[in-house]
Amino acid sequence: MRDQTVEPEVYWRFNVLHRAVHIVVMIAFIGVALTGFSLAFSSVGAARTFVWFLGGIDNARYLHRFCAVVLYLCVVTEVLWIMYFKFALRGKLFGPNSIFFRVKDLRFFRQHMGYLLGRNEAPPPFERFTWWEKFDYWTLFIGMQTMGLTGVFLWYPEFFSRFFPGYYVNVAQVLHFDEAILAVLYKFFIHTSVRHLRPEVYPGDWVIFTGKVTKETMARAHPGEWASLNAPQQGSAISDQQTI
């Protein structure tokens, strides 16, 4: 909401649900990563110290599964929110304010690469969500499905081997590990660099915790959305800022 009475020119980008989900996902992700790698790399002394610290491998396994369930519940929450957005708030799933990919994002990607290589002077006029924010969101979503499925195969191998040949468990082991490596390396290096080390947002992009940004940030980071907000209003069921 354009809050002109209390604070000047503050724009809401994330509602409380999203902020809460992000915190829970962050903590649960760290939990599964630490406990999972202490099993995968158990030949390393530091992993064994960590397991000892948790009180034994059985506790570590329990914690891993607990955090995994919490993570998947967050995914379910997001799916429910998308349905709420579409049906209750009558938002457009492929509109400019949606987290879903549009054809325009391809153009934005090309222009952004041009900016990085020095061909364009400025980054493209991003809308509500930039192409890499959408990419992050959907890769996490799909990743959770793979990790969940393979994880559940490894959790109940006796049950699943009733319906699938035994080597599916071996496949699940390989995929679970490789995808974990990808997710953790991506989040630990790339996600943190983009959100903490990038000069535009250094020392950190706190919007996912506070939910709001200033007018200048809106104009710089999401010029497309900024322009449509300043354009003459069209009647619509959703408020300007309430989006996916």
Binding site: L39, A40, S42, S43, A47, R48, V51, G56, I57, D58, M113, Y115, L116, L117, G118, P157, E158, F159, S161, R162, F164, P165, G166, Y167, V169, N170, V171, Q173, V174, L175, D178, E179, I181, L182, L185, Y186, F189, I190, S193, V194, L197, R198, P199, E200
Partner: protein, 300 residues
């Protein structure tokens, strides 16, 4: 007088309390820390146990420490025997674990000896003895084991814990079954049992039998072994591959070959995708940061 005594007593208590409080931490720490180096550390054989020199310190601490040399090495001290016999041309060339008569072990270890005779190692040993008498010799890495190949009679210890036994076991079995040792340590059972020291894990003999040492190529036999812990397992469960190394998959097991071929195609695809994604985004982020730094330095 009484008042003085009371005062003194109170002073003493206070002083004593202060003294104990300051030393308490140290004493507790000492009690916790000191027993650690004092415990006899279990260790593997550092030198070949078939060395001509016997380390008496370790021997006397071993399970056989109360036995005399002659009890087991009867033939060397028998009447009319010369030791060392420099006239005998084969003396320096005999492999001791091949020439010692291990039936002597059966006098104290009858159950183990009987189970060994029923198992795969004994059968292979008998076959090789037969082949040797016909003049066919085995390369050293293919020799079937005798008791002495796995057990050090001079330095074996008793009353070891399950984790200690298991950890020693993989080194012993791993001397010949190296690929299986490596693939076991990559598998969840190896990680749990050896690195994470979980008592209720499966070590070599838990699945393959103690002294019987049987192969689990037959899925029904494998299922029996799995069911010892995974009580709800079905026959397809026994199709889960534990020893996944390339050398573990014998050509006589087409089903296992097919399974691992399938896994073997998925793995490189997953790894390549991971690397491509990470490298692309790492480079992109790096150049992005440089570009924004440059912009900032230019005052834009």
């Amino acid at each position: 007088m009484d008042r003085l005594r009371l005062i003194l007593r109170r002073l003493n208590t206070a002083k004593r309390t202060r003294l104990l409080r300051s030393c308490r931490g140290l004493i507790i720490a000492a009690l916790l820390v000191l027993p650690i180096p004092v415990q006899p550390a279990w260790s593997a054989d550092p030198t070949p146990s078939s060395s001509w020199f016997v380390d008496m310190n370790r021997f006397l601490k071993s399970a056989h420490g109360s036995l005399t040399c002659e009890r087991c090495h009867v033939e060397l001290t028998a009447q009319g025997k010369v030791h060392p016999n420099r006239e005998d041309p084969t003396a320096m060339k005999k492999v001791v674990v091949r020439s010692y008569d291990y039936q002597r072990c059966a006098s104290c270890h009858p159950e183990a000896y009987k189970r060994f005779l029923e198992g795969e190692h004994a059968k292979e040993l008998a076959k090789q003895k037969q082949a040797q008498s016909e003049g066919i010799d085995q390369p050293p890495e293919k020799l079937a084991p005798t008791c002495g190949d796995c057990h050090s009679s001079h330095y074996v210890q008793s009353k070891r814990s399950r984790v200690e036994l298991g950890t020693h076991m993989i080194e012993t079995c791993g001397k010949c079954h190296k690929p299986q040792q490596a693939s076991y340590l990559r598998d969840i059972h190896g990680r749990m049992g050896i690195f994470l020291e979980k008592k209720a894990s499966a070590y070599c003999t838990d699945c393959h039998g103690a002294h019987t040492c049987e192969s689990l190529k037959d899925k029904n036999k494998a299922l029996e072994a799995c069911r010892r812990c995974h009580r709800d397992a079905t026959l397809q469960f026994a199709g889960i591959v534990i020893h996944t190394g390339k050398e573990d998959i014998s050509r006589k097991n087409p089903e296992k070959q097919a399974s691992m071929a399938f896994v073997g195609t998925i793995k490189p695809i997953a790894q390549t995708m991971t690397i491509i994604l990470l490298v692309f985004f790492a480079l992109q982020t790096f150049v992005w940061i440089l570009r924004e730094l440059h912009r900032k330095l230019r005052g834009r």
